[in-house]
């Protein structure tokens, strides 16, 4: 374990990962109970270490820009699970009053101001946020999460060039989960490591084992430090894996079963748990508490969401304009 990563932090990160996992496992159950959740659910199962490791390196004032796979990012940043769950269910108590649903959850309370399900849209939006931070001489930075698939979008290139040119305090985090929909990495991307694209903008680019929260955190600390010092943007490619289909109706008929087994063994939560146990950093009792607490949080979130009514139909007309 790196020196800057003390035990308290490691446990916090473990707790957050477990919360994300439980939150999304509950979504899976709710989807199976026909009709309890409208629409597609894009889950971060297996990718928790990326969200948690990166965001643990940030301050509360730092901004994140997320994408369609946002639950992990938002929970890690401190979003209230109750309001998220209610939003995912389309309830009026949701963080966005039911206007968004899972795909574009914005939680300005925790500086997650913009989330877009348009693949590749995050980076230019994030460049705008980072520009505002630079313009106001703030000490804060912006982090944008996007997928390996998104890296093929033109908007990502434009944002990287602009950010590098203007030395914006912007950390690009590419979550390479080996898939873009049903297209595997090698079917959509022309290079081995997306991190290498940093060279194309004279920006540092490094990849990391995205299933190892400690390694993600360590790299994030050095990269965010770089951005925060005004040196310009940086790029992290976190290599991880999407454990479920793209949406709960996707039964991954196109996925090699051995690949799934391989990555199941690399579970970011299971491995950290084992390691902490082995090294005596945590006890079975403590682990049980983490489970119990996160289950309680998720129970509470679902109860809140269940109780929240659907929004009035006519309220659909609100919130387009600032009046």
């Amino acid at each position: 374990m790196e020196p800057q990563l003390n035990l308290v932090r490691l446990k916090t990160m473990y707790e957050k990962m477990v919360l994300i996992r439980k939150f999304e496992e509950r979504i899976i159950e709710l989807v199976q109970e026909q009709g309890r959740i409208p629409g597609m659910q894009i889950l971060a199962n297996g990718q928790e270490a990326v969200a948690v490791g990166i965001i643990e390196s940030l301050n509360a004032e730092d901004v994140i820009v997320s994408n369609h796979r946002s639950h992990g990012h938002l929970l890690a940043k401190g979003a209230d699970p109750k309001y998220l769950m209610a939003e995912i269910m389309g309830k009026s108590g949701g963080v966005n009053k039911g206007k968004s649903g899972t795909l574009h959850l914005a939680v300005p309370e925790v500086n997650a101001l913009m989330t877009s399900t348009v693949v590749g849209a995050g980076p230019p939006l994030a460049a705008g946020a980072a520009f505002a931070q630079q313009y106001r001489d703030e000490p804060n930075i912006t982090v944008v999460f996007f997928g390996d698939g998104a890296a093929a979008e033109g908007s990502v290139h434009e944002a990287m060039n602009l950010a590098a040119l203007w030395k914006l305090p912007l950390l690009f985090v590419c979550e390479n989960n080996c898939w873009a929909g049903a297209q595997s990495y090698s079917q959509h991307c022309s290079i081995g490591n997306i991190a290498q694209r940093g060279i194309a903008y004279d920006m540092p680019g490094e990849y990391v084992d995205g299933n190892d929260v400690e390694k993600v955190y360590d790299l994030a600390v050095s990269m965010t430090d770089y951005c925060r010092k005004g040196k310009g943007p940086a790029l992290i490619e976190a290599k991880t894996y999407r454990m479920r289909g793209h949406g709960e109706n996707d039964h991954q008929h196109y996925v090699d079963k051995e690949e799934l087994v391989f990555w199941t063994k690399k579970c970011p939560i299971g491995n950290l748990k084992e390691k902490m146990l082995k090294e005596g950093l945590i006890t079975e009792d403590e682990l049980q508490v983490v489970e119990t607490v996160s289950k309680a949080i998720v129970d509470e979130a679902v109860a809140f969401a269940d109780e929240s009514p659907f929004p009035y139909a006519e309220e659909a007309l609100d919130d387009v304009w600032v009046k």
Partner: protein
């Protein structure tokens, strides 16, 4: 004739076209290997049948997909590419509007662009406003592009085949909600001419113009109204560009009344063009104001209660028709 779902009808058209003409290839995100494993999805099974040379999964790059179509068509191929959902077509509009629609003109008629772009539309699948946004009015306002928007399995097949073999760029909008619904579909190389509307139901009291998924709503409304002895003439446009002006005008000349229906937002929607044509060219036959039934001018909300509210209903059509008849 065969009973096919709308999605199967599209699939059948693609399959047939590919078997007839080697210069046809498909490209798009998940056009080959898809997260859906469902024979009602338009390209189901075509990768297996035609191989990866002709069925090309692409990176997530809408501008490149459209550019691929423009460039390859100019070289004499017949690309059939897919932009997954209508709001993402924004990312391809430079290629489609400034290039597919204009490069022939700019060449003085020397270059040709026999390409087809398929794109999915729909406001009823709980995905929110970045997946659901009917932008057909944009495409219809872009010189050099043809635009079709079928509402039945038969037309889905017939219009797509016409689009693929048309020497011009054609945008084919497919209403996702219809993919699973079945209908009679002629076998073989069946074509529906681009630019011809369909009278989905003859009637005498009021003309109702619609297209795509809204046709279902229109038929529902007609059923309700017929019980009250009000008989709608439903025109399913099928093609927005070129538009079957004659069919439209003749119907209004007969009924004297017009209601336009679409799932897109009202302000600046395609319905405005229909209303304007009639107010210009059939004015003296009009016995009542022209009514438009369309979505409110807001993004598509996610919550089921609100999404339902957003989508124009048969009830709204009934009210609109009644407000100008009797």
């Amino acid at each position: 004739m065969a009973q096919l779902s709308f999605g199967q009808a599209v699939n059948n058209a693609l399959d047939l076209a590919m078997s007839m003409d080697e210069s046809i290839f498909l490209a798009g995100e998940g056009i080959g290997v898809s997260i859906h494993y469902d024979p009602n999805m338009p390209s189901h099974g075509l990768l297996e049948k035609y191989g990866p040379k002709r069925v090309k999964d692409t990176p997530v790059s809408e501008a490149a997909i459209a550019g691929l179509a423009v460039g390859a068509s100019c070289m004499g191929l017949r690309p059939v590419v897919e932009i997954m959902f209508l709001p993402f077509i924004t990312l391809a509009t430079d290629m489609l509007v400034n290039h597919a629609g204009k490069l022939r003109y700019l060449s003085g008629g020397k270059s040709t662009f026999p390409l087809t772009v398929r794109v999915k539309a729909g406001v009823n699948f709980a995905a929110g406003c970045q997946h659901s946004h009917n932008l057909e009015a944009w495409l219809a306002h872009s010189p050099g592009l043809k635009v079709v928007f079928p509402s039945t399995p038969e037309d889905a097949k017939g219009l797509l085949l016409s689009a693929i073999f048309d020497p011009n760029p054609v945008i084919v909008i497919e209403e996702m909600g219809l993919y699973w619904g079945k209908g009679e579909v002629p076998e073989g190389d069946y074509r529906v001419p681009i630019g011809k509307a369909r009278i989905a139901m003859p009637g005498k009291d009021c003309t109702l113009v619609c297209y795509g998924g809204a046709t279902v709503t229109a038929l529902e409304a007609a059923a309700i109204l017929s019980k009250e002895n009000i008989f709608l003439e439903i025109i399913d446009l099928r093609s927005l560009v070129p538009l079957d002006r004659d069919c439209l005008l003749n119907s209004v000349k007969k009924t004297g009344r017009l209601v336009v229906l679409h799932d897109a937002t009202k302000f600046g929607g395609f319905g405005a063009e229909i209303a304007a044509i009639v107010a210009e060219d059939a004015f003296k036959f009009l016995k009542a104001p022209i009514k438009r039934v369309a979505a409110p001018d807001i993004p598509v909300p996610f919550s089921p209660t609100q999404e339902k509210f957003y989508k124009p209903s048969a009830r709204m059509v009934v009210d609109a028709v009644k407000s100008i008849t009797g």
